[in-house]
């Protein structure tokens, strides 16, 4: 189907189902039950799943296939956001021009950064991309570009927002919030089924459709001759060169494609919430996308989506946990034990989410370098072997 083989079609269908039914899958618990806390089916979080899924899929095309570890991809995310907000300011709140420009702007920037950074490989490449991204962050944070040009480009610390006196030349009587040809991103449909409540936000579905397209495109890239060449780069650059292949344009193309994915993700962030700030370009953001990709499984197709989903879900849920909530959870314990448990737990929850995040990074790299996908394969392998063992055991008896 769609030029994919059976296995890939299956994978695509899994993603389609996950994406389209996310409002159900993420709201497993009835709204008034104690477990409702773990529901993730609200618009803001679901949008993040899809958007960071796109970001990680793109990152995986570079890191997973070529092995080049960019530590500066947040720059493209940020540029995408700024580009989209500028389109809102100049034209109107239709997100289409914004998304198109965010992809183009990130693409152009990645040509420049990629062309220079790819003159080096390995750790030098990582540090060059990191340096570029930090430079972009500094430029955005203090709006240096704007200061040099005598105008406002990123609006510095405040971040880029839309004001009433912005030109918005195409606004007319159109909506005053981001929309796609009149379909407002913030609108949603609520559905109550007994004790369950489900929300179907327009914005999320737009992101989900783009996620599915992005995923489909990445499958095509993985299976294409181009994808094969990218894997060759990761495997052995000497043989590549002596097989008459020029690795540089291949790597640059991968870099630019992944930069454009990041730009789209940045544009979508702005389309869901029309502002852009420098913190989106900070290097910890670049680190986060690396971890999402690795947690899911580097170089696997579906891994980045799983990784992005897991990290964003944990981030939201864990940072929501506060002391009184923990107290109520552990109220069944004897007092002293309750205090001890809650004391330990507060280190890892609420503001301590970063601690959990750091721990998660380490545990994944140490115990599961292949990520969730490999973990899943190991598990099924384990069960498969057990079955095989029982079979061999039963054989002599027969």
């Amino acid at each position: 189907m769609l030029g994919l083989d059976k296995k890939d079609t299956g994978l695509l269908l899994v993603v389609v189902v996950l994406a389209l039914f996310a409002p159900f899958i993420l709201n497993l618990f009835p709204t008034n039950s104690g477990m409702a806390f773990f529901n993730g089916g609200y618009p803001d979080l679901m949008q993040r799943f899809a958007i960071f899924g796109i970001f990680a899929i793109g990152f995986n095309i570079l890191f997973g296939l070529t092995g080049y570890l960019s530590f500066g991809h947040a720059a493209f995310l940020g540029v995408g956001s700024y580009a989209a907000v500028w389109m809102f300011k100049l034209l109107n709140f239709n997100i289409l021009p914004g998304l198109v420009l965010s992809v183009i702007a990130a693409g152009l920037l990645s040509v420049l950064i990629g062309y220079i950074s790819l003159r080096r490989s390995g750790i030098y490449f990582s540090i060059l991309t990191l340096a570029f991204a930090q430079m972009m962050y500094a430029i955005a944070y203090s709006d240096l570009l704007g200061r040099w040009l005598g105008t406002t480009i990123t609006n510095g610390e405040t971040g880029l927002q839309i004001y009433n006196d912005d030109p918005q030349i195409l606004l007319g009587n159109g909506p005053n919030v981001p929309h796609l040809f009149g379909l407002e991103m913030r609108s949603k449909v609520d559905l109550a089924l007994g004790p369950w409540n489900f929300t179907f936000p327009v914005g999320y579905y737009l992101c989900a459709i783009l996620l599915i397209l992005a995923f489909y495109l990445s499958i095509r890239i993985f299976r294409s001759p181009f994808g094969l060449m990218l894997r060759a780069i990761k495997s052995n650059q000497t043989r590549m060169m002596y097989t008459g292949l020029n690795a540089k344009p291949y790597t640059l193309a991968a870099f630019v494609i992944s930069g454009m994915y990041a730009g789209l993700a940045g544009g979508l962030l702005a389309a869901m919430d029309p502002l852009a700030g420098a913190e989106r370009m900070y290097w910890t953001e670049s680190g986060a996308v690396v971890i999402m990709t690795i947690l899911g499984g580097v170089g696997t197709l579906i891994g980045p989506i799983l990784g992005a989903g897991t990290i964003k879900y944990m981030e939201n849920i864990i940072s929501k946990m506060n002391e009184s909530l923990l107290d109520s959870w552990f109220a069944f314990l004897p007092d002293w034990l309750q205090h001890a448990v809650v004391w330990v737990a507060t280190w890892f929850t609420g503001e301590g989410w970063h601690m959990t995040q750091g721990l998660l990074f380490m545990l994944v790299i140490i115990f599961l370098p292949g990520g969730l996908v490999e973990g899943g394969q190991k598990l099924t392998g384990l069960f498969g072997r057990k079955r095989a063992q029982t079979q061999t055991k039963t054989e002599p008896a027969e």
Partner: protein, 254 residues
């Protein structure tokens, strides 16, 4: 006029003169061996032929075109394929994928952006790769990752990839180094077969006299960075200068 013409090539590394006034002519469709004791400059010469090193002076012409100043991949696209001392193959990819990379490189050149099409649907490339694997007895391993192959199979894989590119000149850098006798003989037979089946020039750098005398039609003896003699194997065997420079050394070493 040979297919490969090396003229007056000099190469220094600091105070060390690695190559001095090297002249070499390799006839089209011949097997030409370059032998010499350790440190004679064989590897330096080879690196000058494939673009890894640039000689200080002199010229290297392949089929009438200079190779100097070109990148390794450009020289490969001109028709020179290189086999390394330790096989260089794509270890994390399968045998079939390795072969397909070589076939794509032959068909599409150094770079083409085919980011959407399914590689397994490129019928002509798939067929060619299958055919190459068949003829090199690698077909039954086609889904195997090459990193887990035996040394002999890796060597065969590498040679097969080079041949898939239909090179006019195949450069082999000590292709049997570190191999057991049986593997060495297999490799000799393989190279003989290649030679008989196609129009190809083979230049081979080798230490093992058994390999050299089984294959070569002409032999150049290199000593201290300069060619000592160039002749047929029969004449080389009895040549006093060669005994002195090459075989003499082994006697002393023994």
């Amino acid at each position: 006029m040979g297919i490969l013409e090396v003229k007056n090539v000099n190469k220094r590394f600091g105070g060390l003169k690695a190559l001095s006034e090297v002249n070499l002519s390799v006839e089209e469709n011949s097997v030409h061996a370059i032998i010499g004791p350790n440190g004679a400059g064989k590897s330096t010469l080879l690196n000058c032929l494939v673009g890894k090193l640039i000689p200080d002076t002199g010229s290297v012409m392949f089929d009438g075109q200079s190779v100097l100043g070109r990148n390794a991949y450009e020289i490969n696209q001109m028709g020179i394929s290189r086999v390394f001392q330790t096989p260089e193959i794509f270890g994390d990819l399968t045998v079939m994928e390795n072969m397909m990379i070589a076939c794509f490189a032959k068909r599409d050149g150094a770079f083409t952006l085919q980011a959407i099409g399914n590689m397994m649907k490129e019928k002509e490339v798939v067929d060619k790769a299958e055919h190459m694997l068949e003829s090199m007895n690698l077909a039954d391993k086609r889904e195997m990752h090459t990193a887990s192959m035996s040394r002999g199979d890796k060597r065969r894989m590498e040679i097969a990839m080079c041949l898939a590119q239909e090179p006019r000149l195949l450069l082999l850098d000590e292709p049997t180094a570190g191999m057991a006798r049986a593997d060495t003989n297999n490799t000799i037979d393989l190279l003989k077969k290649i030679k008989d089946e196609r129009d190809i020039t083979i230049a081979i750098i080798e230490h093992d006299m058994h390999v050299v005398f089984s294959l070569a039609e002409r032999i150049t003896v290199l000593a201290q960075g300069t060619p000592l003699v160039e002749d047929t194997p029969e004449n080389i065997k009895g040549h006093p200068k060669v005994r002195e420079a090459y075989l003499g050394e082994t006697q002393v070493a023994a």
